[in-house]
Point group: C2
Chain length 299, copies 2
């Protein structure tokens, strides 16, 4: 097969799930825009909905005949994009315990285990290489550099430089910027989580990511944004497999965030820098403590 129609299936599921009986559906371009796909795909969805007797479709007339059931939807295995499948499978592998730094990565073997072609695996590895966790020797194999202490320290250094820069930029945003509203909303979310910290401390990592993303967006710098994307993906998987969420640590981080937010709102650059540094120092500690204790990079 040249290509799976996962875009179609995923969009079909999304659209079918939102249908309500007896409503009339909008025009094809509008449906396409709603779903974020091309009109060709939107038409394919309408065609199938019609064939399944879920809608009646005649030119501009599109009426929902019945509510789709779970059986009408495609199973979730068929809706994941190949890229996501490879990413999940690969991350699981390199964050597992038997993935030693220095290990070779074999494209063909990876492709076979994931059940895909080599081209897709290659392209994934090339894209992934910008995260600094793997490295390639030309005409030869990829090497796993690994989530080591060195990696964490280098990551933390850059994160600190970027965040100090972004925080300073944030402080300079005009007061009518949307970011200030978002920041105030975020304070409320922090307070809400704090009020129920014993139940909700595990949700902190998601909030944490959104908070830092908000700060970084203020810098309007593509290199900073890209780097933060990379961090977010790495942390996403890292914390998914390393359940080291400690209540105390997260509670402290929330307090630091609140101080940080207050400093930003004050607009005082020295205060911003101070609050930012305090938080970054403990974030660095958290990162280092979450490492597998054995891993040390081979020179």
């Amino acid at each position: 097969m040249a290509r799976q129609n996962t875009v179609f299936k995923e969009a079909y599921n999304r659209y079918a799930a939102a249908l309500r009986t007896d409503t009339a559906l909008p025009s094809e371009p509008e449906i396409a825009a709603q779903l974020g796909v091309s009109r060709s795909t939107a038409r394919a969805i309408l065609t199938r909905l019609s064939e399944e007797g879920i809608i009646r479709w005649n030119k501009r007339q599109k009426t929902v005949l019945r509510q789709p059931t779970d059986r009408d939807l495609f199973p979730s295995e068929e809706t994941d994009s190949l890229h996501d499948i490879i990413e999940r499978s690969f991350m699981q592998r390199i964050l597992s315990d038997d993935a030693a730094p220095g290990m070779q990565i074999n494209e063909l073997e990876l492709a076979r285990e994931i059940g895909t072609g080599t081209t897709s695996v290659r392209e994934f590895l090339i894209r992934f290489s910008r995260f600094g966790l793997i490295e390639k020797r030309p005409n030869s194999h990829w090497t796993l550099k690994g989530f080591t202490r060195e990696f964490a320290l280098e990551l933390a250094d850059v994160r600190e430089m970027f965040e100090l820069h972004s925080a300073a930029e944030f402080g300079r945003l005009p007061r009518d910027n949307q970011a200030w509203t978002d920041l105030a909303a975020m304070r409320e979310e922090h307070l809400a989580m704090l009020a129920d910290i014993n139940q909700r401390f595990k949700d902190f990592s998601v909030l944490d990511e959104r908070f830092h993303l908000l700060i970084h967006r203020a810098s309007k710098n593509r290199f900073i944004a890209d780097f933060y994307d990379a961090i977010a993906i790495i942390f996403h998987y890292h914390y998914q497999w390393n359940k080291t969420a400690a209540r105390e640590r997260n509670e402290r981080a929330i307090h630091e965030h609140l101080d940080y937010i207050a400093a930003l709102e004050s607009g005082d650059q020295a205060g911003i820098e101070k609050a930012c540094r305090v938080h970054l120092r403990s974030a660095r500690q958290t990162l280092l403590q979450s490492l597998p204790q054995i891993a040390t990079e081979s020179a």
Copy 2:
């Protein structure tokens, strides 16, 4: 064809050019190591040298019979790796005047014009995307963001953060580190260029790149190193097509480098930061002045 034997041809040229009549050649593994290729390729080279009557080869006996001539070598078009060919062709294209920001990039068209398969072009574009000059919409085309003023400013911001960090690290290197010797040698090169500035001011960009690379290596941070690689490649092509080399500007930069070197050697962190900032400010000016004056990024 599945693959060109450019590795072989390039290594063959390199090795043949270094042969001297009547000398005996080392063992196969040693030749392979010298050339940075596998023993298989080294043997292929020996085989051809032997077939061409350039060496006599019998097991461990390998004697050079005659000096290879230019006609024995492969023409340079055949020794360039596909990656380099694509890179050159692509950079030429996007730095040319008719490449407007916002333009679509078509993989198949690019591949046809370069005379290569789509796979290689795709992989190149993926790798190249980390430089921030192009961007992809999934399932759709790449967009050229272009070498715009916005790009230059974002690049300059990150470069400044990284270089201040690297310079501070450099100042902390132990005195017996090789980097200090290299730095001293580099001062001599700067002085030599300055002494003959009217003739040599055009060579400054190469020296400039080597100087900053030396500084950045002190940080031992893979993200900084990667970013500097990206900068170096972009500048390499940018200055190749934009011959804006001004004698006065380069002369001033050399003086700034010399002050910067002196500050590093003093070990005084405040002095280092000051000299670094002075140079970065004028480097930013140079970068902005080198831009094509029309280009402004479309939001």
